[in-house]
């Protein structure tokens, strides 16, 4: 079996991907069924197969299970860190158990994937977040994991925000002065990039700061939709600040499968790389949906070894747009994220006091 490091992440066709990724997923199903009793129980109790002959048949767990159960395939002593979702305080957070191997693989895969876009040389990097976010290993947030993972792509890491999330103008100005007109790398969560960086620089009058800047951002559009900011507005405004040559890539990912992110191409489509795959399932039947049909997003990844999260049915809604034929030149399924499943109304004798 081909080593993952030898694969070009954005240029593997469907046939090649199936030959490589499907056996990996089957292996993980086997691994977790042997090491996670609850996972084995679910497979057994729901009659799911251990070996799938198609991606569609790979067993998948409901994403919310990670909020309700601690699902681990490693001994407690081997737990390196536990990731938590960035849910609001009132929500129950997901718990993702990582051992060193999986944590390391996450980072390596992320770097391999994104560096196939940024190139191998490390660029000066501005992180639109606060310093110290990644310090606490025991309760590691998705945001922290994202910042830490992406930081491997850059050098001279500069955190753009203060503790209270206001711009740290001193650091920002130093970064701008040092790297003005150069190619830099910027990463942040979509809402934070917009609210605490782009808007602030726009108000200050900053324009065309860099040459060939690359911005990666993630975290969803919900908060920006509330402000009537769509991807187009986001990109055009951000390019005013960073420079017209800036490459802006949104990506879709989640704490349950960190490392296997789905990056937006130059044509505005999210792509599954060679390391991951995506299935859209009809939300009323959970059967695979046709191209263009809206449904729940199932994500698959070869990374999770310490917890049974290699195939997860999310509560996000999306639509498959095509496969291997995007005019951007990247291979893989390409899709769009539409939103979340409507929340089931909470009613009953549970309470809201």
């Amino acid at each position: 079996m081909q080593d993952w490091t030898e694969i070009n992440p954005l240029h593997l066709s469907r046939v090649e991907k199936k030959a490589w990724l499907l056996p990996q997923l089957n292996q993980l199903t086997q691994l977790h069924s042997e090491n996670c009793e609850r996972y084995a129980n679910i497979l057994n109790g729901t009659g799911l197969p251990l070996v799938a002959s198609e991606f569609d048949d790979v067993p998948y767990l409901a994403a919310r299970l990670f909020k309700l159960l601690r699902l681990s395939s490693v001994e407690e002593g081997d737990v390196f860190k536990t990731l938590t979702s960035s849910g609001t305080t009132s929500q129950v957070k997901s718990q993702i158990v990582l051992d060193k191997q999986t944590a390391s693989l996450q980072t390596k895969v992320l770097v391999k994937l994104l560096s196939s876009i940024t190139g191998k040389s490390r660029r000066p990097m501005l992180l639109v977040d606060r310093q110290g976010l990644t310090n606490d290993k025991s309760g590691f947030s998705a945001r922290g994991a994202g910042v830490q993972g992406l930081s491997f792509l850059g050098r001279d890491h500069t955190y753009a925000l203060n503790e209270d999330l206001t711009p740290n103008w001193e650091r920002i100005d130093q970064f701008i002065e040092k790297y003005k007109g150069q190619s830099v790398l910027i990463f942040g969560f979509t809402f934070m990039v917009w609210q605490y960086f782009v808007t602030e620089l726009l108000n200050r009058g900053d324009r065309s700061l860099f040459d060939n800047a690359i911005l990666f951002h993630s975290g969803g559009w919900k908060k920006l939709q509330d402000k009537a900011v769509d991807n187009h507005t986001f990109k055009s405004t951000t390019r005013e600040i960073l420079g017209e040559s800036a490459a802006i890539h949104n990506f879709y990912g989640m704490v349950e499968q960190i490392g296997s992110v789905f990056v937006e191409c130059s044509h505005g489509h999210l792509h599954a790389s060679a390391y991951s795959d995506i299935i859209i399932r009809n939300q009323n039947t959970l059967e695979p949906a046709a191209f263009g049909e809206q449904g729940q997003i199932q994500v698959m990844s070869f990374i999770p070894r310490s917890y049974p999260g290699h195939s997860i049915l999310t509560e996000d809604l999306g639509r498959l747009l095509g496969e291997d034929d995007c005019s951007c030149g990247w291979k893989g399924c390409y899709f769009e994220v539409i939103g979340r499943l409507p929340k089931t109304e909470i009613r009953g004798c549970s309470d809201v006091f």
Partner: protein
């Protein structure tokens, strides 16, 4: 009262401890509730509010009055000042307990969540409308309000009241109970409860199985299985597999589309993680396990099931926080046995699990909201 509370209906004068004493079943209060009932039944209201209207119909109140009428030895008198904390997400739940407190002649403060539902708003609008017709007399010592749970209003209301009634999750009740009551005050709580169905179907029941299934489905669908009295597990008592299958086939017809697929899928996986096995998947997921799995996680669109042929064993399988058993085919003797071996507080027919009665959760609410005075 200060500005950090929202008064939805009633009067701010409720805090006045010197209001006139009104005896249980006073005609003015019967009149208010009857008018409320009539308006709910005749107006364009939701099914839960119509059910409240039906429950409060004048003939019902008269029947209660007759049931609790004073005799030479005993009469009912109001407790005085009552404080009710109610979850706002069961439309009308607060109204059931409040109306009995009101009927018993008490001054009452009802605390609801600030996030009131459209049904609650309609109900408060109706309260205010009928109250206006009495120039504010009807509700001048009642208050329906909301306040920040971190404020000191729970303390103030607890100091004020002579009887406190709490509805909510175990966690909420424990939180509120940290606010102690004065020694002279009483309390009644309605915490998290769990309910199940016991079904005993025989060949002779096959012709009516569709009707039974429809009733059962109604119990399951109402409040999306999230009410204390919603059945979450079915225990088959001496019922053949063939009849069980016929029953589930029939239930499926009435349940279809009631639960989101993601919910039934997730819920079934959750129970399977503990060792349950899926029996069938449709509008509901049905899973088999040898005992009830109940760890407090709110699941939707799933029912567990197992067979049991010994009634005393059924009672022992129930959780400590059991409330309702909706049933078919249980004999009087079986009910006695289950009352002895479990914490059950109410049996009901299929389709009536969510029907509120004055005897709720093991308590006669009319008695709870009044003093029994020995003459």
């Amino acid at each position: 009262m200060s500005s950090n509370i929202t008064l939805f209906a009633g009067s701010q004068k409720v805090e006045d401890r010197s209001s006139a004493v009104i005896m249980p079943f006073d005609s003015s209060r019967v009149l208010f509730l009857s008018q409320l009932s009539e308006a709910l039944l005749q107006g364009n209201y939701s099914a839960p509010l119509k059910a409240l209207g039906f429950w409060l119909r004048e003939s019902q109140i008269k029947a209660w009055k007759e049931e609790y009428k004073p005799n030479d030895h005993l009469l009912l008198a109001p407790i005085g000042r009552v404080f009710i904390v109610s979850p706002s997400n069961v439309e009308g739940l607060f109204a059931y307990s409040w109306s009995l407190s009101y009927l018993m002649g008490n001054q009452t403060i009802v605390r609801v969540s600030a996030a009131i539902t459209s049904d609650q708003k309609k109900l408060f609008d109706l309260f205010n409308l009928i109250d206006e017709q009495t120039n504010g007399e009807a509700l001048n010592n009642q208050a329906f309000l909301s306040y920040d749970k971190h404020s000191d209003w729970t303390r103030k209301c607890s100091d004020w009241c002579q009887f406190r009634m709490l509805w909510g999750s175990d966690q909420s009740i424990e939180d509120i109970r940290r606010v102690t009551l004065p020694a002279q005050s009483q309390e009644r709580v309605f915490p998290d409860r769990y309910s199940i169905s016991v079904l005993h179907l025989e060949e002779q029941d096959i012709p009516i199985i569709s009707g039974l299934a429809e009733s059962f489905a109604r119990d399951v669908i109402t409040f999306q299985q999230q009410a204390c009295a919603s059945p979450k597990w079915v225990i088959w008592y001496r019922t053949s597999k063939k009849i069980q299958t016929l029953f589930w086939d029939a239930v499926e017809k009435f349940i279809v589309g009631s639960f989101a697929k993601n919910e039934t899928f997730m819920s079934a996986q959750y129970l399977c993680a503990f060792g349950a096995e899926v029996e069938r998947v449709g509008g509901l997921s049905i899973v088999n396990y040898r005992e009830i799995i109940n760890d407090g996680v709110a699941l939707r669109g799933v029912l567990g099931q197992f067979d049991q042929s010994c009634i005393s064993e059924i009672g022992r399988a129930f959780p400590q926080n059991l409330q309702s058993i909706s049933h078919y085919g249980l004999s009087h003797e079986s009910k006695l046995e289950l009352s002895k071996t479990s914490q059950v507080s109410q049996f009901c027919r299929l389709g009536e699990a969510l029907t509120f009665t004055k005897n709720w959760d093991g308590v006669d609410l009319i008695t709870v909201f009044s003093r029994k005075v020995r003459l």
